[in-house]
């Protein structure tokens, strides 16, 4: 075959494609979307931490977590709206409630927990109506974990192999990463003596994220290549290093304010880098037709092998 017209002749690694063009379209989302994933996750986990702290009577930590939650969730809607092609139509998001759309479900979660968080924060600042505040904190705290994980569902519910095939692990990655960032942020805000729970959450979250990430990559097999090569690889490596260092730092920092500051910052950066890595990997995965074609072709062959002993090719 000539050099110019590939004619569907196999590429070097044995699969065929249309001029090496992608089968899928890359998302049009900007990096503010993973930034939102990070903020939303942090807000959600912080809300839960706040609630737990409130229930256990750790008011300073509860306050710190509430502020973390409030900051993070307040920053979220502008990011979400800014990424729309028609931002003025953001309210159309509430036109339907669609179980089949993690973005729809997520929008309702963000809206509800945003309202609850807002109320809780306002009442915290005003120092009034403690029962109402508790109710608001309870609502935000209960929704929090899902605010942290629905974004993983959102990515998994696409056709992009590195996201879709990671559908079982990705929510755990996000859950862990959120716990790490919320814990770290709360630990930064709260006084060290009251922040132990936050530090523990940060460490536990980081551990969960690292383990889930490893499992995810193992399941993905060659589909995880975008984490190893290309633009997402650096982010992946950075995220891993930052999170590991942050975890270690958090473990040794104890009540040292400076240590917590350093470790917390590392963890926050690691968490953000993780979301960016996952995000970028999706683009790589969509851009290279190999991921789509080879994985599907293998599936076809497995099916063919199951239905009849000799496969076609």
């Amino acid at each position: 075959m000539s050099a110019a017209q590939n004619g569907g002749a196999p590429a070097a690694d044995g699969y065929r494609s249309y001029y090496g063009k992608p089968v899928l379209k890359e998302p049009v989302w900007e990096p503010i979307v993973p930034a939102y994933f990070f903020l939303g996750g942090t807000a959600g986990a912080a809300a839960s931490l706040g609630l737990a702290a409130r229930i256990t009577g750790n008011a300073p930590l509860a306050r710190a977590a509430t502020y973390v939650n409030a900051l993070a969730i307040t920053a979220s809607p502008p990011l979400l709206i800014a990424d729309l092609g028609r931002p003025e139509r953001f309210l159309n998001m509430l036109r339907m409630f669609k179980l089949t759309s993690p973005m729809s479900v997520g929008t309702w979660i963000v809206s509800a927990s945003g309202l609850a968080s807002g109320a809780a924060t306002a009442l915290e600042l005003l120092g009034r109506m403690p029962r109402a505040k508790l109710a608001a904190e309870a609502a935000a705290g209960a929704l929090g974990p899902f605010l942290a994980t629905y974004t993983a569902a959102l990515l998994a519910d696409t056709s992009i192999p590195v996201w879709h095939e990671a559908r079982r692990e990705l929510p755990f990655v996000f859950a862990g990463s959120s716990a790490a960032s919320a814990g770290a942020a709360s630990a930064l805000l709260a006084a060290p003596p009251q922040a132990a729970a936050a530090r523990r959450l940060a460490v536990a979250g980081a551990a969960l994220e690292l383990v889930a990430t490893a499992l995810m990559q193992r399941r993905l097999g060659f589909l995880a290549d975008p984490y190893r090569r290309g633009s997402a690889a650096k982010l992946t490596a950075s995220s891993g290093a930052l999170t590991a260092a942050g975890t270690a730092g958090m473990l040794v920092a104890g009540r040292s304010r400076a240590g917590t500051l350093a470790a917390g910052t590392l963890l926050l950066a690691g968490s953000l880098a993780k979301r960016l890595a996952v995000f970028r990997a999706g683009f790589e995965s969509a851009r290279d037709p190999r991921y789509t074609i080879v994985s599907q072709r293998r599936r076809v062959e497995r099916r063919a092998a199951r239905s009849q002993p000799s496969s076609r090719r």
Binding site: G7, Y18, Y19, G85, M96, A153, R167, L208
Partner: protein, 298 residues
Amino acid sequence: MSPALNLGTKPLGWPQSYGEEAAPRMGFFTDTSICIGCKACEIACKEWNEVPEDNLVFSGQSFDNTGALSANSWRHVAFIEQNVPAATPTAEAELPEELRWLMSSDVCKHCTHAACLDVCPTGAIFRTEFGTVVIQDDVCNGCGYCIPACPFGVISRRERDQLPAAAGAEVAGLGTTHKCTLCYDRLKDGMEPACAKACPTNSIQFGELDELRERAGQRVQELQLQGAGEARLYGEDPHDGVGGLGAFFLLLDDPEVYGLPPDPVVPTRHLPEIWGAAVLAGAALAGAVVAAVAGGRK
């Protein structure tokens, strides 16, 4: 591994939500074995739907200067030049291979289970009374979720910077996503979609999906009897990963050669798994919080 969700062979919510308004499911059967690659479909589509032109660059990829389906190209004719073993080897065959030039007009598949439709948060994408999948430009807010959801890479968002300066002035639908509507407006008047109407050789056939499937079955048999063993249907099976396509194809080579995924699956089929994992992970997070807080009280 939990089994994938069985979504059935009919679109969800159709036809029942339309009651008496429901029409038979309409679709396309594109018989690529008679496609002459003229691109009348591309032009007729753009003329009717007022889709802006977006590319003035020579590709060097056979006669395909369109490249792919997008917000600005709702039909895309693929051109594949290839050498294949000669069908009728001559006694003194200098060329054991002969040239084959495959052409195929690609379009939105109007899947029975359409990922774009499922994930659309605003309801901008909906299932019409004809069983087709349409993006409503008056509703879409350009969130872009449908773009990576589609297993066929059909959809994209129309942005000003994709369009040549000349066209920049008054372009409709900027910032929203677009794709083939199967000429929803024409269908409402009993008219044929613009591409199918224009198609000189009837490679693009429009009609009731059931009838098209039957016709396609006969055609592929006929071709195979004529010795075209490589002829196969793509997307006609309602039991495949997307519940069958509303716009399906007769191909002469593997789908990926035409830029089509070999085994598309609507992500919605794994939704229980996805939601399940999200809930479990959420629970794990809650557990971690409880543990972290409780851990200190010992």
